[in-house]
């Protein structure tokens, strides 16, 4: 469904992506792992058009993402949970969740949008009383859940999760991981998750890809990662300081 072929991206002298090849099947959950600064987030941002690659092609359902004529309709297929939730400070929680439902091609009446927002908030374990609060009044874990509710508000076909558990305590991280797995399973969505949290990987993933040195170093089913015998993957999933991956990057 989503295919990246030979994708390159640099920022000045920093050649972050050096020919990424990756394929994500429809209805599956792909988790991209790798160290900090290896370009995991850039990968998903290239799919959404937030970052333009210098070389390579990215297709969704066989269509080149740079050639999409109706950008609104294209983006309406996606939901995204950002690393720090990226909630709009000036809007109350329910308007954050219902943002897409209040404008553009998916616009609904205000009351209906609010009802959907509250239903999605309940789905991520938040009660209706947070709906009228501002994002700054919520804890980090609650903000993450609101971000998750916003990502699924319009029932997208494809959902991206950028480091969904970063900055959360282990219990809240577990709650978010379980929520993501449940939502992905019940919605049948295609998902790409960026993380370096191995608990997330084992909870969320159907397939795993490891990004290292600007390329996909290893990819395969999550069940195979422990027996992969790739020294880079082995060092990463076991969190060892010694190994082929330089610890000072």
């Amino acid at each position: 469904m989503i295919t990246l072929s030979n994708v390159h991206k640099s920022f000045g002298d920093n050649h972050v992506l050096r020919g990424v090849d990756l394929h994500v099947e429809r209805g599956t959950s792909m988790v991209i792992i790798g160290g900090s600064g290896t370009g995991k987030s850039i990968c998903i941002k290239t799919v959404l058009g937030l970052v333009t690659p210098e070389r390579g092609t990215i297709t969704v359902d066989g269509q080149d993402v740079t050639q999409t004529k109706d950008r609104d309709a294209f983006l309406a297929r996606f939901g995204m949970l950002f690393q720090a939730a990226a909630l709009f400070d000036s809007l109350p929680v329910w308007q954050n969740v219902a943002f897409r439902l209040m404008r553009g091609s998916l616009k609904r009446p205000k009351d209906e949008a609010r009802e959907i927002a509250i239903e999605k908030l309940r789905r991520v374990g938040l009660t209706a009383d947070v709906a009228d609060r501002l994002p700054a009044e919520l804890s980090g874990g609650m903000q993450k859940r609101v971000g998750l509710a916003r990502a699924i508000a319009a029932d997208p076909e494809i959902i991206f999760f950028d480091e969904p558990t970063t900055g959360l305590d282990p219990i809240m991280a577990g709650v978010i991981n379980d929520l993501i797995r449940e939502i992905v399973t019940e919605m049948g969505a295609t998902t790409m998750t960026i993380t370096h949290d191995m608990t997330s990987v084992r909870t969320i993933a159907d397939n795993v890809a490891m990004l290292h040195g600007g390329k996909i170093r290893w990819t395969g089913p999550v069940a195979d990662i422990d027996a992969a015998h790739d020294p880079y993957l082995d060092q990463f999933i076991n969190g060892r300081a010694e190994g082929p991956i330089e610890t000072v990057r």
Partner: protein, 257 residues
Amino acid sequence: MRLLAGIGAVTLGLLGAIGRVAMFLGATLTHLVRPPFYPREFALALLNIGWLSLPVVGLTAIFTGGALALQIYAGGARFNAEAVVPQIVAIGMVRELGPVLVGLMIAARVTSSIAAEIATMKVTEQIDALVTLSTHPMKYLTVPRVLAATLAVPLLVGVGDIIGIFGGYAVATGTLGFNAAAYIQNTVDFLELRDVVSSLVKGAVFGCLAALMGCYFGMNSGRGAQGVGRATKGSVEAAAVLILAANFVLTGVFFSV
């Protein structure tokens, strides 16, 4: 040789910056006439830039008008021209001090606020989030603010002109012994339509520049708190300089003989 290279680099940098701002203005104007429109964002910007700026504009204008009356009276006394206080206060406030001071106050209050808000949104990926939610940041953030400032600042300038003249009137009639009715009559008789029109046009241009600089620097901010700080500082500096430069040009256009 090194000096020439330095001058060349600065010139190229300046031309590049002018080009980028011109392209940003062009994009803003293009999005201004193409739907979707965001009336709620426009109304909020109008409230913030227009209504909430009234206290600072009013205070700036009244003190400036009062000080101007005192200065003109003291200066005019040197050659027996104390009686021109109403006329000079009116012309000074309406043609120059009203628009320029309101423009600079807007640069300080609004440009900085817009730049800091948008830069923070960029740093915290809220701009990226807007894009993924099928909302163009230029349409949602820039157009409402630039349009609101272009419409609201002329009104603020008009209010500032009136309050400034009132400040001069209060000082002149309260402490300098001017007759109240004669002061008002002299002010009204001396002002021309061209003075008022130039004041409002300057207000519109200054408002547009102030909001445009806030949005431009916010959208192009660097990373982290330092990036937000630099964007905010740069936006106020650029807006202030552009307002003063535009004032010079517009004064030439309206009043060159």
